[in-house]
Symmetry: D2
Subunit: 481 residues, 4 copies
Amino acid sequence: MSLLLTGATVIDGVSEKAVNGQSILVENGRISAIGRRDELPVTAVEKTVDLDGKFIIPGLMNANVHMFVNVLFETLVRYEGSYEDLIVEAAQVALNAGMTTVFDTWGPRRALMAVRDRIDRGEIVGSRIRCAGNIIGFDGPFSADFDGRIPGIGSSHFVDRVNAAWVENTGRHLMWMTPEAVGEEVRTYIENGIDFVKYASNEHGGTAAGAFIQFSERTQRAIVEEAHRSGLTAQSHSASVEGLRMSIEAGCDLVQHCNMTGPTEIPRETLDVLAQGDCGAVVFPLTDNGLEILKESISDLEWTMWKASDSNCRNLIDSGATILLANDGGILAPEVMQEPMIKGTWNGLPEEEALGRLATGHFIWLKAMEEKGMAPMDLLHAATRNIAKAYKVDDDFGTLEAGKIADMVVLDENPLQSAENYRTIHAVIKDGALVNRDTLPERPLLTAELPAPLEEEARYKRFLHHGVRLPGCPTCVNETR
Amino acid sequence: MSLLLTGATVIDGVSEKAVNGQSILVENGRISAIGRRDELPVTAVEKTVDLDGKFIIPGLMNANVHMFVNVLFETLVRYEGSYEDLIVEAAQVALNAGMTTVFDTWGPRRALMAVRDRIDRGEIVGSRIRCAGNIIGFDGPFSADFDGRIPGIGSSHFVDRVNAAWVENTGRHLMWMTPEAVGEEVRTYIENGIDFVKYASNEHGGTAAGAFIQFSERTQRAIVEEAHRSGLTAQSHSASVEGLRMSIEAGCDLVQHCNMTGPTEIPRETLDVLAQGDCGAVVFPLTDNGLEILKESISDLEWTMWKASDSNCRNLIDSGATILLANDGGILAPEVMQEPMIKGTWNGLPEEEALGRLATGHFIWLKAMEEKGMAPMDLLHAATRNIAKAYKVDDDFGTLEAGKIADMVVLDENPLQSAENYRTIHAVIKDGALVNRDTLPERPLLTAELPAPLEEEARYKRFLHHGVRLPGCPTCVNETR
Amino acid sequence: MSLLLTGATVIDGVSEKAVNGQSILVENGRISAIGRRDELPVTAVEKTVDLDGKFIIPGLMNANVHMFVNVLFETLVRYEGSYEDLIVEAAQVALNAGMTTVFDTWGPRRALMAVRDRIDRGEIVGSRIRCAGNIIGFDGPFSADFDGRIPGIGSSHFVDRVNAAWVENTGRHLMWMTPEAVGEEVRTYIENGIDFVKYASNEHGGTAAGAFIQFSERTQRAIVEEAHRSGLTAQSHSASVEGLRMSIEAGCDLVQHCNMTGPTEIPRETLDVLAQGDCGAVVFPLTDNGLEILKESISDLEWTMWKASDSNCRNLIDSGATILLANDGGILAPEVMQEPMIKGTWNGLPEEEALGRLATGHFIWLKAMEEKGMAPMDLLHAATRNIAKAYKVDDDFGTLEAGKIADMVVLDENPLQSAENYRTIHAVIKDGALVNRDTLPERPLLTAELPAPLEEEARYKRFLHHGVRLPGCPTCVNETR
Amino acid sequence: MSLLLTGATVIDGVSEKAVNGQSILVENGRISAIGRRDELPVTAVEKTVDLDGKFIIPGLMNANVHMFVNVLFETLVRYEGSYEDLIVEAAQVALNAGMTTVFDTWGPRRALMAVRDRIDRGEIVGSRIRCAGNIIGFDGPFSADFDGRIPGIGSSHFVDRVNAAWVENTGRHLMWMTPEAVGEEVRTYIENGIDFVKYASNEHGGTAAGAFIQFSERTQRAIVEEAHRSGLTAQSHSASVEGLRMSIEAGCDLVQHCNMTGPTEIPRETLDVLAQGDCGAVVFPLTDNGLEILKESISDLEWTMWKASDSNCRNLIDSGATILLANDGGILAPEVMQEPMIKGTWNGLPEEEALGRLATGHFIWLKAMEEKGMAPMDLLHAATRNIAKAYKVDDDFGTLEAGKIADMVVLDENPLQSAENYRTIHAVIKDGALVNRDTLPERPLLTAELPAPLEEEARYKRFLHHGVRLPGCPTCVNETR
């Protein structure tokens, strides 16, 4: 199994600059040599691809995705027993969009690991998945941490079954425990075969009024130590300046959405610690246009929070922190995407600014951070090398170097000229093989179109929809559904 | 006690036209003569008022007000034990606005009757009140008929106490009963001293999806017969074409908000019955401008309903029905008026189009019906004579004729030229006495200004208000309050 | 295809008494002769069954079942696209329990009709279904008429799709229409191929506080006339004494759950009309033991209602009304049956008194009415002949007579001795063929066992279940889920 | 102003034992001497009281009360503008029950301070109040921390006004801030004149699923330092083993309800730190009988929590921690006390075991801790000296010593024989004066009886109450209010 790519401009993630007229020889899934064609070893190559005028970059990575994010009650009922199908679909959407490796930071552990292993064994095509399972400390999808309305609506059998599949032994009840006892539970959970540990430094279900601390500093340290003892990296879900600081001090290898700290900007002291240490800083940036649109529809308090998150991105760039691309990327079913009720997801931003989409959100990230002043090569590193290092997989991934696994993206246009050019994907190569992108996803489920409404459904909507109140009543404040 | 009004143009509600240069002699609270000054009997007059250039019309009436409409939980708690104060305030606001008699068609019976009697005895100044107490068949303010959220929030003692004060023996449980048994309960309720009977032909808590029938035709007849047997008039709350038709067939003397029939216009057959019989047709019209504003903010289905209500008004004019002015007029506290939560009350219309305001809604009614093509003199009748006839008090009220009670409004401008001129109130005379309008309401409670927020309140709002969700979470659909 | 049953005691539903030693000859699905074996025509019989000591009665019927009653949100999501499978299961459970024909009075029309036709064509085995589709005037499963919490939880696409499948053109919006317009909608609905018309005389979503009238008398007549014009029978959902009276006067062929009239007993006048006319009276009785158990757990008001429903049953027996067996029979999934949240369904009665179970409720009905004094032969008629007559299918069903379709139940014990003996089913014959009861239902879905909880689920429940409030807080009334 | 008490057994809180035949001389509000009568200085005494056979103990204290705990929406509306009246009532109930000083640890700051000052100035009689105002970090009464249903029900004006009165600058938004910024806000709040600082180590609105940490360790230290810098004591609201540990390490002078740590017992390490340091340990114990009753009605998980809280009490006794009496004591209106809806307050325990009652809860505390093995003299210290020390007011209060303020309780029976004997209050002396207990509270508001329901209210309840569902419907899961 060998492949020769010739005549491209290579941006290897190591050199300071792009190099023209390079060839890359791939053997057995790994890069065996990079250089001018005549510099490469003479070997019988099974396939040669001429990439004259193209740009080769390392396979893109994403430090925070959710291959299974569609935790709508309805979706969970409908796909119970076939979660893996949805995860496969997501892995193929991700690969098609240039991401050869994604880090899933919250989801149903068993199904995620099963798909991870099937992809790793080459049984199915898809982005390489590394996963954490549950976020240590979070309760399940049907709880105050996510959709608290479902207990009381769903059968308790189903509610418990779903929650248990996410939570196992790592839920909110860990908040009752001593640091030592939490450490033991984390060890038990690691033994299930997860790839890294993510825990809650701040609560998930928080509001603009403030974000609770989930675990004391001592407990956070106990969790991180337990991960490291098992050779895994550790990271936190953080949502406030104290939650962020505690995570770094606890020894996290990276911290999720560092820039989301409510209305308060990250203080200088914490910026300095980040810049000097080796803790990766994941950020979730919005584009200038996205911020502009948001501003129109939100309260002053919310705007204060978005402004702080924007300033944090800029300050992290300026301070020299190691920044990682990530976006909570996932696939929401069209049913959901068209739903007035939860349209607020991603803040009602138009699709071209919606950071959280699995297929396009990383492009929006790159554009947003380019706008905030991040240098072109730093953008590339944020999407590749920095992620590999923070997750401690840089022996295999993150740059184009001889010996590394041959994950690459071929672009039509130069990404160092404009972040927009990351969208011009010509080809994706994973494990040294060209991906047949036209076929992905092979079996669209969540990405399939919604069927058109039946005639009777349209009629029903016209006549009975919503049961809105009768007009004109001065004394009716009764809610009717 | 005698009073002589001289030199005015009199629109007496009987003649086809206004008559210039008329004088009116009032003795002992009644009109003793109308005519040119030299035609009037020579008598020693205590007070003479020169009204040269002014216009005198009969005291305005309102066929449907709620002197106590503010059934917000908070208001009912705060004013428990002093409901009468709020009713006095409303009666004075109404009188100040030219309404010498109002018909209260839903409210707390004991308090309404107490204020009615105090005004009738001359102990306090205010619009003359005639009242129905509860609407036969409706449950209390804290029920599915009004604000169904309060049971579960309020103490059950308070909830029950309030509901009982409105409902007594006339609530929803009457729907369980035979027509005969309902008749008996109505008789019991009449014996409490109410002035007329109002019952539910349609439900109150209805939605755009449809309006239930509250009582069978046989039961409706039993209620009306019981009222008539006691010498009282009967009317219904109607909200659908069938509810309207049943009310008329049951023998009602008037029907409330005939034009509110959901998305279906009143059929020709029913229009004809109304035109030929002597059942008064109350309508709640919106102005053209009000409709225009509404259209922007409501659903297609709701708009269909408002269009039908507008067509009904026009068709009732065309068909020659006896139309009555009314508007559910009441006073909402400034606290409520400024409340985002229930701002929908009167559909978010700006104040100048909000039909339901006690102080101004009747002017909006007149303007709206003028726009729909009602003749000037018919407008006057709708606000005076027609109401008096429908309520069978036309021996005393509704026109300016010798022998009738001297209730009058003096206008600066001619109301027959433009309905807007009803707003130019120069003076109000009730029971033959000039009302000292400057002092009304004597003790503003609901019409008082809200105090400005404390500094700490403003600060609280800025920092903590609403607890809106944290930005950016793709999986949070949890409601937070 | 011929079958000879010999030596049994036959209770044919026509004679006053059971007759011993009878044989029944069945040819081509119909009864060709009944009599002593030597009286029967000599013919070549394909199969002879000796039923010495057994009792043959007409196939049991049920005047009110719901083959698809499990309108839990979760169930509807899970089985979307395969409603027919659930209906087949129910039809087989019913047949196994001796019911050869059932009348489905509310459900998803298309799926019900599809299964009806497959059974009629002999493609699948099951109780013969005749169905009404929606109850004219009711909104869908996810509405104020049933589970009003789901709009706001489910995606509006799904909510509308489900509601539309039930409602089509027959929902609450008919309450807005004139009688003539409602008649037209009913005609349109009939043309879809339903077997009979059921409409709402009273609302469905009612409370103990009273039951609204859904349609005026004139509209009810229009609906019934429309049914009769199409050759269909008409019936109503009734819940109050007025709703019942109006239904009878509108010309209904039968009225559902006549005995459910809230706290008010059916007046003598209505009992007389029922006794003299030919309107069938469906009742839902509880056993003495069931009532006893209920009494312990319900409020005084509720008890008043159950007492009235019990008195109504007794008075209907005494007055000579034509009484029909029915029980809202349906299958609730084990998941639901074990659900604390909705365990109240059928009032928390133990299974042996739970009237609404499809497999057993008819036996409870017979026991309950026996306790109330109904004569043994009248009980049989209520379960067979009376239903056939009311539904106007007595040419084919309801008694054992030559020429009728050969639907029979063979019992081990004499049902005229004790109603309990209806449970001793020896065999069921439908369309002249022995039913292979051992195989029914062929594919258990709702009647399958729930899987045991996973280990992690049990653990989750132990640690996190319900998120009950922390102990000891005097000021927390916040609901937490 | 001098008073001589003679002939009593004095338990002074200093000596190891009670001493018989002691006299106490009080001058100008302070104890000037204690001893045998003949040992006392000769002085002109204005009043001499013979207490032969009685027992004199220091005035009782309570380390955690809420003089204004009735944060029911209804109560707050009704008493807006007169909060002080309710606080006066509570202070008089407390004094009557033997508590001469109480520490109010959460309530409306301005009103509490106003009553505190009026009592201190001698303008009104009542227990001496020392107060913290809000708990730093908590949102207001109408928020997720307390009753989250009210926003959405109450007018936002009222909701904000009430919340602001409690929260001022100390609410949840402090969770967004850096430790330094929180410290500054605390300083601002202290400047208002509070007596001590209480902050949230754990959240208030927690559930059995776990308790969040409100503030990081660094922030907790910043708060405590700020209090100490101003000469005030600091304490925390703690609800988990980590919340407790962090509070102690942060330097708190006392920690509230140390024994409430969810299902996890306090670890040995923390017990040792408590025993060796000088941080006061408040506990909320239940009696054996109370626990027995609870066990019957709660879930296994809840029981685990109560068992842990009980073990904690015992372990704190054994480990030698400085234990303080407290009970969240407050007055709930009879309206509330009789309310089915929130009867769960204090867990449905019968009054004789309900720890939280202001008038009796301290007696229950003493009985409960006696049952758990606390020595008689330690019980007395827990109710007097330990509280004075922890709050750093032991120069003036907590023991009977010359020079201290003359707060005493005279008992009929020996409290060292049985904790029950604390109930035998013969007299209360505060600031050297006998309290006229018969007149307390002088103006009962919350402690007044509820008026009997009106006849119409009783009738309403009978007919319409609760709108419970109609019986027998298998498909209705709709909630009705």
